[in-house]
């Protein structure tokens, strides 16, 4: 014969099992969705400097500065299994030192319910665009891409690449003036 505590325990365990099933249904209803979408970006001002990188070796390295425009609408990415988006803007390029360089220049967190229609004009980067040598000056093919992590209630943490990218080149001369 069950006591009060045993009955309570049985109900609680059963409710938790049901909750696990509901969470799985939520996950299963969104796992095959396509979260890619179009994002338009382009650079406005691009300069490159040759300055000492005191955070590393104190040698003079290339430091890129750029401002960018970014337009995208991510509203439709939010559903009941998306808590927030973590956007990040990456620059990819090839140098003599490295076959592939990837530098995150800017990022943004969009919580659910916040405005997800992005329209940035002439925005500054958040993080320094350091090269580990002199690979930026005169580099003809730097590609900007926008990506995002989807932070879900339950399930995978996918890394999505936006459709659309922008390629630009750095000037062949260092800028020495203050900006």
């Amino acid at each position: 014969m069950h006591s009060v505590l045993q009955r309570g325990n049985a109900i609680f365990a059963y409710a938790l099992s049901v909750l696990a099933c509901l969470t799985f249904v939520c996950f299963a209803s969104t796992v095959f969705l396509n979260y890619r979408t179009q994002a338009d970006m382009r650079t406005v001002n691009v300069v490159v400097k040759n300055v000492p990188d005191y955070s590393a070796s104190r040698e003079k390295n290339d430091l890129g500065f750029l401002t960018f425009d970014l337009q995208t609408d991510l509203t439709h990415l939010f559903n009941w299994n998306v808590k927030q988006l973590f956007l990040y803007l990456t620059a990819e390029y090839e140098t003599a030192n490295n076959k592939l360089n990837q530098v995150v220049l800017w990022d943004k967190i969009i919580l659910r319910g916040e405005n997800a229609v992005l329209d940035f004009k002439n925005a500054n980067t958040k993080y320094y665009f350091w090269d580990d040598g002199n690979g930026l000056k005169g580099n003809k093919n730097i590609t900007l891409t926008l990506s995002w992590n989807i932070i879900p209630n339950a399930g995978f943490l996918p890394n999505i690449f936006a459709h659309g990218s922008h390629s630009f080149k750095f000037p062949v001369e260092y800028t020495t003036s203050r900006m």
Binding site: M1, H2, R7, F12, A15, V18, L22, F78, W80
Partner: protein
Amino acid sequence: MDFFKSIPTHMDFEGQARAEYLSRVIILLFAAVGLVWGYIIQQFSQTVYILGAGFALAALLTIPPWPMYRRKPLNWQKVKSTGESNSTESNKKAKRK
């Protein structure tokens, strides 16, 4: 302490079965409604809250030993007295039953 011991917590066997069945029906019903509603408004938190309400209702209805779970008590045999003097008498009573 005597006060707590005086609170009845007992269900009979059939009441126990009814309580368990009822609790599962209630929780599953709220889970189904919560799932549909949460999907419609695309808010999984609402699904969880509705399931929580179902849990609370099931707990209220099936944890306390309400009278509906005590309708078919077991008919226990009378306690046999083990005293030598009236052992024959009690045996006779048992046979008579």
